[in-house]
Symmetry: C3
Amino acid sequence: MAIWNGRVLNLCILWLLVSIVLLNGIDCHSRKKKLPKPCRNLVLYFHDIIYNGKNAGNATSTLVAAPQGANLTIMTGNYHFGDLSVFDDPITVDNNLHSPPVGRAQGFYFYDMKNTFSAWLGFTFVLNSTDYKGTITFGGADPILAKYRDISVVGGTGDFLMARGIATIDTDAYEGDVYFRLRVNITLYECY
Amino acid sequence: MAIWNGRVLNLCILWLLVSIVLLNGIDCHSRKKKLPKPCRNLVLYFHDIIYNGKNAGNATSTLVAAPQGANLTIMTGNYHFGDLSVFDDPITVDNNLHSPPVGRAQGFYFYDMKNTFSAWLGFTFVLNSTDYKGTITFGGADPILAKYRDISVVGGTGDFLMARGIATIDTDAYEGDVYFRLRVNITLYECY
Amino acid sequence: MAIWNGRVLNLCILWLLVSIVLLNGIDCHSRKKKLPKPCRNLVLYFHDIIYNGKNAGNATSTLVAAPQGANLTIMTGNYHFGDLSVFDDPITVDNNLHSPPVGRAQGFYFYDMKNTFSAWLGFTFVLNSTDYKGTITFGGADPILAKYRDISVVGGTGDFLMARGIATIDTDAYEGDVYFRLRVNITLYECY
């Protein structure tokens, strides 16, 4: 009997040790964390119509800053280096400018390279549809001639409270210096 | 005896299985996470006095960019669309401009809509008081005519190292294009 | 026998309770979290050469906005208050401007104080070397006369996907209003 009880006791002690090892293995802050599965994915488009001095009615963005000597109704040469634009662009679920907008993309971008077209973006998706109510804020470099560019999700509110993740941007249309349309594929890894 | 020992053994095995289920249930990265309780709340005010060409002494912000043709001492019409301002505003714990500041709100905002007053903010609370030493950085859209607007906490240093959360802003006072005071209710969900 | 078995059973029940306590103790979202150990550290330099009207060839940044009356090839007096600059600066692993760059620091800064030199930064390290491929985006106040200043990491992509942490900046060289070099000591606390 004592022998049998001893075995059972040993089993329990063994399990105690195994449990401790398992518990230690659950480390939310190991040096390198395993990437969680995405918790949300959105694909949206936004449409930017740049003010050129003649389209005040339907322009959605305007140059507000540029290097010395610039006229703010004309993009500078020199790869638009230093041109800074403020925008309030409609967001649609497809690539049609005239589709009912589900929100507005609001923020700014500027061109920041002298030897190629490249930009830096800071903006917020203000979403207000039956599907989504809330904001997602993005920031980062946008090497616009690359097919796909990743920028960072830096914050979120409402349905996207404290969202974390990235957005992969591609230029879905580009019509001279008047109109461009970006496709934004948002992958969130942390959702509340 | 064998029967009794068998029961105890079964109990331990049962508990092993239950434990495994429980351990698997602890997933720091489930698809949708439970919102943690706020770990810190701060309510602070900041005060913005806009340079108008005559108040260089006590202005705390100035227009630095605007659409073509603008004079940077006058807010543009058109809902100030495109006006971009840089600021260094005192932060107080109450709504009195003349209270001893506990820090400075430093950053920029710009108006980004053509058919209503709406802005986009990027700024940092630089706090240096007996209660708080550190910075909180915010970013996001500010539809300023709404009573309460949520913007994202995008970073923090010092006492607010890697802070995450949101700030609910309301316009506590607005005096033409010369002075406004924002009440900022900061809720942090991650504190170190 | 029954007594012995009872003891073993009690031991298992005790362990059940201990386990539950331990399991509850694993809270990924306690009020104040323990700071994890850094998962990555990088020390990099970036070099800013400001356009002054004569150095278009090798300038890496340019003023694009400033208060009323400014010429964008001359930094304003008044501690450069309101001067906003866009940059695309080479990043090197040592303090030599002519070392092979490992990436580009792209973004903007502006001076935002009237009574001392202080700035606000929003920029991205676009890294493309054998060691690192990806971006880190930073934002925050930079009281540039302090020896060391902490700014926030607000996002990351590629090798730095969803990076979190801070960067400690110090001014490694400053040559009038023409050149400065910042040493950036990046500490990441969350890596994937």
